[in-house]
Symmetry: C2
Subunit: 181 residues, 2 copies
Amino acid sequence: MREDTRSRIQEVALRLFTEQGYEATSLREIAEELGVTKAALYYHFKTKDDIVASLVDSRLAELDELLEWFKGREKTTETRRELVERYADLLRGTRHIEVARFLERNQTAMRDHPTLIKIRDRMMDLAAEMSGPGATPVERISRSLAMFAVHAGKWLLKEGELSEDEVHKAALEVARRLLEI
Amino acid sequence: MREDTRSRIQEVALRLFTEQGYEATSLREIAEELGVTKAALYYHFKTKDDIVASLVDSRLAELDELLEWFKGREKTTETRRELVERYADLLRGTRHIEVARFLERNQTAMRDHPTLIKIRDRMMDLAAEMSGPGATPVERISRSLAMFAVHAGKWLLKEGELSEDEVHKAALEVARRLLEI
DNA sequence: GTCTATACGACGATAGAC
DNA sequence: GTCTATCGTCGTATAGAC
């Protein structure tokens, strides 16, 4: 019994960090919800940041994989579109949508977190890789914005206005057009 | 002498909040840089949040004005473009660029701040006002993204790659094309 | 190996003296 | 208008019970 305390901490922490923000969520809050003390958390994780690290590591691995795949391909409108579609699929993966949402909402609080910095670097690398050295500023911004459109759909529109599937399809369509500029 | 302590607090606080983040900046840090104690800050401002409120109030007023102007106009590609251009000009205003940058970087920390909530509402209202009830999801997302493109240029591109003016012009061009979808 | 009890310095905030 | 002193809570750390 209670051998899965570690994963229960991850689950509760991710939910509270996303709902209330990382800094606004205290370890006491997490511990109380689980019926243990703060100190128990420190047995399973070195620091508060370490709980985050355990959550975001898999997302970094996926981005590494995506970047590696794209580097080996020709850069055409077609492959750029495929990249954005793969990225969108990644965001819709079973567990990682919650992690992505947490990262979106806690960029500032996490700005010195090593894994977060790496994730941000991979995103920049992907954007840079889409445009060679000869690309115009308009092309660079359009292509970067195309990747971003997949994220943006979620919080640019009022809630309940459209279904999640409608937003997803429409955001991909906007991204596709941005890549054709 | 030192009758302008209030504005000096605002100046130092805005800089540190933007550079290090709101929660990562302590009142002790601000006070020490000014050569006073924490308690002195509490004479000029009720709370830490109150320092922020004094900074962002003028930006809310400008957004209110912009929304009011747009409401009274016909909704065409031409007026939507003019809206985005006015918004971009607003961002380039002498003092408000620093405040806009602070707000960009501290969304999560400020999520319960009354003025911040109002600013976010005005942005949503502007996005909604650009598309009537008959607009398609693709049109809605494109137009929202057009406003966002003006912000995005700054942190989508690697630093030093392009001048601030080049980024500004290219972002506006991308926005213009998004409005023509 | 899993957790509790207890304590540390720094934080935002307040009360009251000068 | 600015100070000292103090409050409760925070993240963090360790000693030791089971």
